[in-house]
């Protein structure tokens, strides 16, 4: 099994996945049903300006990096119980590529 944040993750494929699976609720620049992702990498959870986060996310003290994003995307409810997101990304390679793309969203 490929490590989810291994060398070789493909940001271009991650962008395609983002536009297919995430774009229903998220965008890079703007808060929608989900928070904006610009600058998410390295940021504390619950800090996209103007987004109405769940108390669970706001109080989580999680910092978004390869490991925490991988855990979150694999199982949001197990990572931050009580959050609002019901969407998971089961495949580790897909998660790695999405995370690599999110790393570029500055």
């Amino acid at each position: 099994m490929q490590a989810p944040f291994s060398f070789g993750a493909d940001a271009a494929r991650g962008k395609q996945l983002y536009e297919s699976r995430c774009i229903g609720c998220h965008s890079i620049e703007e808060n929608r049903a989900g928070p904006a992702h610009k600058g998410v990498f390295g940021r504390k959870a619950g800090l996209s300006k103007g987004f109405d986060y769940s108390p669970a996310v706001k109080s989580s003290k999680l910092i978004w990096n390869e490991r925490t994003l991988d855990r979150w995307l694999a199982n949001p409810e197990a990572t931050i119980p009580g959050n609002k997101m019901g969407f998971a990304v089961p495949d580790a390679v897909d998660r790695a590529d999405l995370i690599e793309y999110l790393r570029t969203a500055k």
Binding site: S20, R21, I23, G24, C25, S27, E30, N31, R32, A33, G34, S54, E77, G82, N83, K84, M85, G86, F87, A88
Partner: protein, 196 residues
């Protein structure tokens, strides 16, 4: 890309209404049914995770409703396309009513829509310069909603709610297919193009 009347498939009023009417009636009945509530809550006052997912879905529906308002108010849509956009918006209003009703019945508080100006900013409505731009935006949102509904199905704790999500996804696919056709695009290559 210019969109012609021939490229737009405008479904017959009777067929379209009968289809959405069935969805709404069944969805409401299912969501309001005692057996569903009994199965999903098992004595608990409400399943907060299911309510949270329904509220995110309601947020998507509010966005869809307002996106079609922005399209209709843009002055960019020709008459037959405008009629279809209004019809699709009516579907999303039914979806929103269904979801909001379910959330209330489960003891939750339905999320309120944002202002039209907020949606215009989030969707970059100021960049819409042609009918094709509006259709592209609508198609992108319908596809996104399709994949969102399909993606949350495994997370529902009440199987009946998962089924409703699947039926809502089918509605979004219907919209996307017509928009895709209006834009002159081919069908996706291969089977099972949605939700992946």
């Amino acid at each position: 890309m210019e969109v012609t009347k021939k490229q737009l498939i405008v479904p017959g009023r009777r067929g379209f209404l009968s289809g959405t009417g069935k969805l709404s009636a069944v969805a409401v009945a299912m969501l309001a049914g005692k057996e569903v509530l009994a199965a999903s809550h098992a004595g608990a006052p409400m399943d907060s995770k299911d309510v949270d997912i329904l509220n995110v879905a309601l947020g998507l529906e509010w966005e869809g409703i307002n996106a079609y308002t922005l399209g209709a108010q843009s002055g960019l849509l020709q008459k037959p396309v405008l009629d279809t956009a209004v019809r699709f918006q009516a579907d999303h209003k039914e979806h929103a009513d269904t979801l909001a009703g379910a959330i209330r019945k489960m003891g939750g508080k339905p999320v309120e829509p944002k202002s039209l100006a907020d949606y215009a900013k989030a969707l970059k409505a100021d960049t819409l310069k042609s009918q094709a731009d509006v259709l592209n935006l609508a198609a992108r949102l319908e596809l996104g909603a399709t994949n969102a509904y399909l993606g949350v199905i495994p997370a529902f704790r009440a199987p009946a709610l998962a089924q409703v999500a699947a039926r809502l996804a089918a509605d979004e696919v219907m919209h996307w297919t017509i928009l895709n056709n209006a834009l002159g695009r081919p069908l996706p290559a291969g089977g099972m193009p949605f939700g992946a």
